[in-house]
Amino acid sequence: MTPLAQLLEAALFASGAPVLLDALAALDPDVTAEQLEEALRELRHRYDEGGHGVELVEVAGGWQILTRAEYTAAIERAQLASRPHRLSAAALETLALIAYRQPITRADIEEIRGVSAGSILRSLLERGLVDVVGKADALGRPLLYGTTPTFLEHFSLRHLGELPRADELAVALRSPATP
């Protein structure tokens, strides 16, 4: 491996969270963006082809070293690490709405879901999956919610564009057929 790839490996190992490209570039001021990309490709290839238990993943606008999925069960059995809890259906629905309609007010979320969303929003805020991104111009200046980089990381997304576009969903909105 090139020295740059080794440096990147050490930096990514040291950080638990995804490391943004800018932060990786700051490791060595003499490195160009092309060299950085090349070194990341080299590191990823090394992990994929060399028989490694970890892999290099691009997520949330950065890079992260993660264990391979096939070893998760064994690791969990040995109680060395445990997977985070799954989000509830209600939380996922709320997140889906925020991801697609952001910035969105709580009232809009509640209108579409047909249930109150206060406690769910609170817990999503606590987990850092959503954040207040502003205030709407509507009456009472309600808070507007949007997704965070943690949201991207949680759903292994490089960016929001990786979610299916609304018109790609099986149920496209069309005007109701006349009876």
């Binding site: 264990t67 509830s88 047909g114 292994s156 997304l157």
Partner: protein, 311 residues
């Protein structure tokens, strides 16, 4: 949590069973025996309604509203959701649409608005949300099944405590000291000694009437008994509280100056040869002015009220 194994209640319309509806542990253990579905985990009335439509394989654009309304009511009763406001609101909405559908209309009436249109729009919107939820859930699973290296916690190395170097002799000597101290328990007999604060107050007043400035030594003779010292101290504090004297200590630990408070000249005149005179002005109540203000406040009438009435 209600877990039913009745095939009649199973959602068969969706091939993949999302985990929050059929938890992995129960399906694993009962695999092949039957479907196990958590029926309480509807995320809202729209979820329940959409599930009913899927079960009955009903076209979302042509809902037999009377039948669905009936089933919706039956289902929320069996799931004990009928006290949840959101479900009740949906039930009411369905019944209203049902009533609107019963109104007579002419064939080919162009102006007729389908009362179900709004519900259909909401259902479609919600169905999209559910589709996105499936995508999100699959993506979350990708990340959930991989572990990141936890960020290293900053090692905080506490200072190691200095090792004790104690010889046995020192230890025994220390034990001996402690035992000797503890051997003779000293019993102190408390003897009540009455303080004569009132007498000290009188004496101080008499002196203050003659001189404007006193010193501690003027009030307490050398070699005085502790009760005497204490009495004078309390008496001076009491007089200071009543405003009859001012206590000053210009330097820390320096002598205390006892100054007679400034009085109107007419009072000074009446006080000659009449020591206890100031008590007429300020009665010596043990705890004066402690509760009276708060008690009086509610009955306090602002003076400008009458002024306003006069104007």
């Amino acid at each position: 949590m209600i877990v039913l194994a009745d095939p009649g209640d199973v959602r068969t319309s969706r091939g993949d069973n999302p985990p929050w509806r059929a938890p992995a542990d129960t399906t694993d253990s009962l695999n092949g025996a039957s479907f196990v579905v958590e029926l309480t985990h509807f995320s809202g009335p729209l979820d329940l309604l959409l599930t009913l439509l899927h079960e009955e394989q009903i076209d979302i654009y042509d809902i037999p509203i009377a039948r669905i309304a009936e089933q919706f009511l039956a289902r929320i009763q069996s799931l004990r959701l009928d006290d949840a406001a959101e479900y009740l609101e949906m039930a009411a909405r369905l019944l209203r649409i049902k009533a609107q559908m019963l109104l007579p209309r002419h064939d080919g009436d162009e102006s007729w608005d389908d009362p179900r249109a709004e519900l259909v729009r909401r259902l479609l919107e919600y169905q999209q949300v559910r589709e996105v939820v499936d995508v999100l859930d699959a993506r979350a699973e990708l990340r959930r099944s991989r572990f990141a290296h936890p960020p290293p916690s900053v090692p905080v190395r506490p200072l190691a405590p200095a090792r004790l170097s104690v010889a046995l002799v020192d230890l025994l000597a220390a034990v001996d000291r402690v035992l000797r101290m503890a051997s003779g328990p000293s019993v102190h007999a408390v003897v009540p000694r009455a303080l004569d604060v009132a007498g000290a107050v009188e004496a101080a007043r008499a002196l203050l009437a003659q001189r404007d400035r006193l010193r501690w030594k003027d009030l307490v003779p050398t070699g005085a008994e502790p009760w005497h010292v204490l009495s004078v101290l309390l008496a001076l504090l009491e007089l200071a509280r009543l405003g009859e004297c001012l206590l000053r200590q210009p330097i820390p630990f320096g002598p205390v100056e006892i100054n007679a408070a400034e009085r109107p000249s007419w009072m000074a005149a009446t006080m000659i040869g009449d020591a206890p005179a100031p008590t007429d002005e300020r009665p010596t109540v043990p705890t004066p002015d402690m509760e009276t203000p708060t008690v009086l406040m509610p009955h306090f009438d602002p003076p400008h009220d009458t002024a306003g009435a006069a104007a």
